[in-house]
Assembly symmetry: D2
Amino acid sequence: MINVMVLGATGVVGQQFLVALANHPWFNVVKLVASRRSAGKRYVEAIRDESTGSIRWYCDEALPEQFENMVVEVFEENDLRDVDLVFSAVESDVAREIEPKIAREKPVISTASAFRYEEDVPLMIPGVNDDHASLIEEQKRKRKWNGFIAPIPNCTTTGLAITLKPVMDRFGIKLVLMTSMQALSGAGRSPGVIGLDILDNIIPYIPGEEEKVQREVLKILGRCDGKTVQRADFKVSCTCTRVNVKDGHTESVFLSLREKASVEEFKKTLRDFNGCSNMDLPSAPKRMIIVHDDPYRPQPRLDRNLEDGMATIVGRVREDPALENGIKYLLLSHNTKMGAAKGAVLLAELLYKRGFI
Amino acid sequence: MINVMVLGATGVVGQQFLVALANHPWFNVVKLVASRRSAGKRYVEAIRDESTGSIRWYCDEALPEQFENMVVEVFEENDLRDVDLVFSAVESDVAREIEPKIAREKPVISTASAFRYEEDVPLMIPGVNDDHASLIEEQKRKRKWNGFIAPIPNCTTTGLAITLKPVMDRFGIKLVLMTSMQALSGAGRSPGVIGLDILDNIIPYIPGEEEKVQREVLKILGRCDGKTVQRADFKVSCTCTRVNVKDGHTESVFLSLREKASVEEFKKTLRDFNGCSNMDLPSAPKRMIIVHDDPYRPQPRLDRNLEDGMATIVGRVREDPALENGIKYLLLSHNTKMGAAKGAVLLAELLYKRGFI
Amino acid sequence: MINVMVLGATGVVGQQFLVALANHPWFNVVKLVASRRSAGKRYVEAIRDESTGSIRWYCDEALPEQFENMVVEVFEENDLRDVDLVFSAVESDVAREIEPKIAREKPVISTASAFRYEEDVPLMIPGVNDDHASLIEEQKRKRKWNGFIAPIPNCTTTGLAITLKPVMDRFGIKLVLMTSMQALSGAGRSPGVIGLDILDNIIPYIPGEEEKVQREVLKILGRCDGKTVQRADFKVSCTCTRVNVKDGHTESVFLSLREKASVEEFKKTLRDFNGCSNMDLPSAPKRMIIVHDDPYRPQPRLDRNLEDGMATIVGRVREDPALENGIKYLLLSHNTKMGAAKGAVLLAELLYKRGFI
Amino acid sequence: MINVMVLGATGVVGQQFLVALANHPWFNVVKLVASRRSAGKRYVEAIRDESTGSIRWYCDEALPEQFENMVVEVFEENDLRDVDLVFSAVESDVAREIEPKIAREKPVISTASAFRYEEDVPLMIPGVNDDHASLIEEQKRKRKWNGFIAPIPNCTTTGLAITLKPVMDRFGIKLVLMTSMQALSGAGRSPGVIGLDILDNIIPYIPGEEEKVQREVLKILGRCDGKTVQRADFKVSCTCTRVNVKDGHTESVFLSLREKASVEEFKKTLRDFNGCSNMDLPSAPKRMIIVHDDPYRPQPRLDRNLEDGMATIVGRVREDPALENGIKYLLLSHNTKMGAAKGAVLLAELLYKRGFI
């Protein structure tokens, strides 16, 4: 068993990590790290609101019993001795400071954006760009680290990149135009989106989101020569909005392909994409992409939990005569499962299997 | 004063007509027509649910007192003698049957889609394509009618066409890609969207909607030679979805222009567009298009009622490097005001002023 | 194995029955019955919307594979030969006609209200009033039936009656005042509650609901002498409202008890109530009542699925000095699980175990 | 004209004060006071979010032009010279410190709870307990103040107390049991209720709310002898919950009266209650209480804005046989209009008219 530390274990993403790691066949959580305020407390007490006695637990799944009584610690570098792997669920500014300290000795799989855009840092989705893992060697060499940092992409990037991968390989892509309708849980709880603001409403702006998605898609789908990633050579433009949905980002995609695809060829290409589904990774979905023929799907509430939130769901595939070799479709991706902690655990599983951890 | 009949006066759109026509300076409602079930009843009784005594009135505004005691009638052709103008709020299948009967003698302004796509029927938005009114003469001549049918566009078309008009005139348009997030009220109440289906959800499909918008935009922005309309020569593609918003359709638009526009030029072009705002039409908005600089706008709940729902609200104008001379923006249009009954009243005002009524 | 027919199998409640009966250890579904429109079709085709190809499946759980290809039939009395038990999910007017035809030969467990208030019909909740089953003998005798009808209560009654049972037994009850905040799924889909009507809103009236709850609570908690039920001798008053929640009815309860109860005694009494939890019934919850100390619970979204929707969740237990021996609390009960089909399956399990089926 | 200062002018309640005071016939806003962070800025800049340029304005009504360019100041005691009246919209802890400093010289009408429960402080609703104003003299005398503090009640108290007043006067009250379903806007924005927490949910607890309502109703409806208020001699018990509604608190009320009232007598008593509606106060509603016969009303979205949010709306009046002389009903009160800033302005109007200001 690999001994695991969860950094930022009491926050929303940290909680999702605990759910994703409960009874994991390979990873054994040995350390829960959080801020000084929580240190020394049993986990269940660390997340208790003192004034009301409420447990601040935000996952749909119950708090796994195995963590209830684990004592939460503050981060100290010498605690890393007994740890083989760190999952980091901290905010980007904290990540920028702490993750390199850890990476000197141990691997860090992170949901933070702090290092996503550095040249020697791979931005990976298992089954999509596994060869980018070779950047890890370059990163360790250049930075003289024994460990490394491997972040996962933004939650809005993930489903888009997954659907584009088999399309790019089969038909080539010239242009991607995407409008997202993103779920509330993507905004977190500090305070995230206020109920008053989203009831009977849409928020048409998520700061920084569009730039992240545009940048990350091209890096993920780029060509890696072992030292660097050459960005994919198509154009991407996004408009990102927030809607009153709890979980599950919906994306409306317009594509111009290099080669013409019929609707049936396009659907088959998506359905045939195995991604990481047959790599024997415990958190991998059985179907990487699920394609609906029913025009009323995907719907976030009906489809987000398919394959425990690890599949990307596609629907309404249509030819688009307005674009050269045009295709349009909608996709749905669970932003707090495949798009966050459980996606990070999946990445760790891949890197472990490939010997990087 | 012009004497007006409202056809389908007890339905949702009919109710909106009554609100739009209450105390109108030019139009005087003299007849309310509905189905046989309502005939002979006072209006307030015709919309009462008998089992509970509830009044089924669906507008935000109160039922105007002047209509409370008007007796609802069934349609009979010889009733048209005292009527100068008919507003039709019936479903498309009923419209297809009844509207031509009326048009033999009197003008019909309709919210139904039944005749929108016929060659001799103008599809007008005041201030956008007023010259298309000349088709009315052709229609009367060809069909040997004394009256005519003038439908308004689909509610999702309206805001899009309004924003495209000044852009087309100034920069030229090559490509329009639009994703809509449409309000519940657009689906009506028979039964419209069920609460269970839209709570915490998005419905990714609205049958027929995309085709209507694509077709209507090109007709509205086409060139009219008095006998026919030559469709505008750009490409349009739409994906239409339903979200949990009461009123106000939000649309995410990506444009490729013929000539490059900076963000400031683009905004100025929209802001400078007078449309019908200075034509002394009672229902016209003071500002045809309102452009926000605040990236968090437009929001349906905050902006839909600006100018009593008759303005089109634009925000998040950005250059789009992914497209040739690319621009992207969001727009908001009130689907039951400018996009439905009050928009129809505005069209009647224009046609009256121009002597067609 | 008991061979089971589901009557009304294609409707919302019928679908919930299929989920509750999938892989059931005792009950084997051998017949799916629905209206003539569905007859002769495979189940998955019978629930398909022909115009769009959509599958109209409304449960959170997937359609169990075992039913996908079962052929749906219309009801014919001679079909009952191979059936040991019928679950009825039809509307009350249909129930009134068909259920007696079945009961001549076979037991019917029904979610309809048609027979709930007849003197020789027990209204049972397993673990609450199991002795009322003796009415079944009386019913068979009086009506000369080989089978019988056993309905379950209204979904708003169930949680209330469950919490009142141990309280009545331990402290006695003088008065119950309850305000409900009911979920959308309780209204069904024909059309149920329209999205436009419930967004940013509360509907303060559910026709007939309050009378049902008031009547049913007193029957369920009444004393049965084998031939008739003497209504419980306390007063009950309800106000029932509809809120924008998908599943789970929340009820605010004020009680006046015969003997004073402290908060701790009251909680202990609820927690100690086993109900049917230790009777080895496959659908029974492990905990009949779950009592939260956290004042922010129960919350419908967080708590409704505890024990697969079969537990009643209680919170905010407080003494109420405004009432003699006053106690107030909130409860949550899953209206489509314990309150509907799965509750009916639980009742069948009890009656089977006791030899009535 | 009375010169008015608004304390806490940039917050949510402060903004509501500005709307309520715009173009007021008696009150002239001369000073806007807020925290040091806003000081020296024009109002429209003080509420601008610097990072995005967004204007943080939270009322449905537009920011009145007259305030856009007023310079926001910090509170300094010597600024009170030019001020005749202060509206305080600050939080309770700030109120406790600053309001007495002001009251030494000038009257303060406050939405804060800080002084509501002090013996010499009246808790008034115009038209309900106007004679309590005599406490103001006592307060000034005892505290040696030239001004005074007059708070308004909690927003959940207001509608309840208004409906109870005529009932108490006509029939006498023994017992009040109330369950509230409160709107999001009552929780404010710091951060108030998070969207994630209220979507598809109910929050069954609002800290301190029930105690406030229970205490305030009895004080408001108590008998004032000029020096003190003797609490009303009936019992009140509340359970307060939060639902996903923007504005408008709904309350389900069960009453036991001293004398029996028929439904028609009860409705007539409410309808006949003039309250402050005929006192020539500019902010008073024309109808103090509106009673619906339609059982589907009141609904928050349909009824909250009647009389510009200053009326209390009642529906579903029924006899309640479970209680001695029992009556039950639902009420709706706009929590940010009559229940907050505009209610405070109304109180100031009354006190001005009576010569206290």
